[in-house]
Symmetry: C2
Subunit: 208 residues, 2 copies
DNA sequence: CAAGTTTTTGACCATATGGTCAATAACGTA
DNA sequence: TACGTTATTGACCATATGGTCAAAAACTTG
């Protein structure tokens, strides 16, 4: 009975996400969104709410997409867990060295959220944890494989990879090229190699 | 002869920087700046120019400050280069786990710059390189000390540390606490340990 | 084909924004 | 103490912003 919509929500969210990724939440204007999505202001408004709500939807989609991508990269069985992480990081190096002006919405939300209780902040934390969870699972497999020392802290190592990838994203944004970013990724992977050997940490503890 | 200013530029820049660090360039309003600095709009305007110019000044100051801090942490002679890096990273872990909403202006500029030719972008790139240079110098010393393998790529390793610290900053922003962040920092440091041994990289190359 | 429901359209609005102007105030020097 | 210079103040402005309203349009079902 009701008049059907002319658009698919997913299309709109994806276009809007593109705008947000390039301009940021605060800097993107409603007009940018209208232009990018093709919808009228009002249509946008009663379908989604407002700018923040739309960003929120885009953020969720971005998060799902990122989760899916990482899961896929780390979940295959064609290589050892550590090799899969290696492959994933190298892929990221290529992706982040692209010259488009995109910044992942997770990073944007992290940086643009206004307070601890901002829904953006909450969602982002959840996203980070989810991502870390994926790394953790893969690292756990590596440990079971014997590729990682038994006493490795899989949780912190997972977060370490989240940090490294975020950092690589920023580096890419700063114009660091593909070759160098790949080298950085390889450096980052050495943190894993160190884990394999039981070498006791005999280095003196500096200012802790 | 002329009427003297009531303020010190450095004070104003520092207050403005605080605002920018907490709210971001786009989200900070001129009024926020007026309130934070205590100056009138016009005074602000003819002393600095506008919002962007003021941000630019604040960014420069932030960059100098960051450079100074890292130089200090890595430049002392009381410990081996690697130990100094270790200490520095642990310090960062503490700093980034603070609950204030600050984000370094470098990161903000990186994320909020609008294009490749944006002055913000240029300045930020320079900042990153400068920072990397400091790490590189320290790593170079480590190599001379024999704490790092001869064939280590000091440049990429330096950028690796820039990436790691940026990533840690974001993690802190996501609410990751001091303990975990410290663990992440220690993980990151293992990338160095891996360098010390000449173990050939016999791992198969995955999708490069 | 008519009714009912929702979308769309485009005009509209209050507000807040970054920025400017002109008048006044404050200071050092002559 | 008067002058010249610059800083300050507060009113002012055009614009762009996020958001809203009411009327028209579109589709499905009865």
């Amino acid at each position: 009975m009701p008049r059907p919509r002319k658009f698919r929500e997913s299309d709109v969210i994806s276009s809007a996400g593109e705008v947000f990724a390039v301009r940021g939440l605060a800097a993107a204007t409603l007009d940018d969104l209208v232009r990018a999505t093709g919808l009228g202001k009002q249509s946008l408004y009663n379908a989604f709410g407002g700018k923040r709500e739309l960003f929120f939807r885009a953020l969720s989609e971005d998060r799902e997409e990122a989760t899916r991508a990482v899961s896929e990269a780390l979940g295959h069985d064609d290589a050892s867990p550590l090799e899969r992480i290696r492959g994933h990081l190298l892929t990221m190096a290529i992706e982040f060295s692209s010259s488009d002006r995109r910044v992942s919405l997770t990073t944007r939300a992290l940086v643009e959220s206004t307070g601890e209780e901002d829904p953006l902040s909450t969602a982002t934390k959840a996203g980070i944890e989810q991502l870390a969870g994926i790394y953790a699972r893969c690292l756990e497999h590596a440990r079971e494989n014997g590729d990682l020392a038994e006493d490795v802290n899989v949780q912190s190592l997972a977060l370490y990879f989240v940090a490294v990838t975020r950092g690589m994203e920023l580096l890419g944004r700063a114009g660091v090229g593909r070759g160098v970013l790949t080298a950085v990724a390889l450096d980052a992977l050495r943190a894993l190699r160190g884990q394999r050997m039981e070498e006791p940490d005999d280095r003196p503890s500096v200012q802790e």
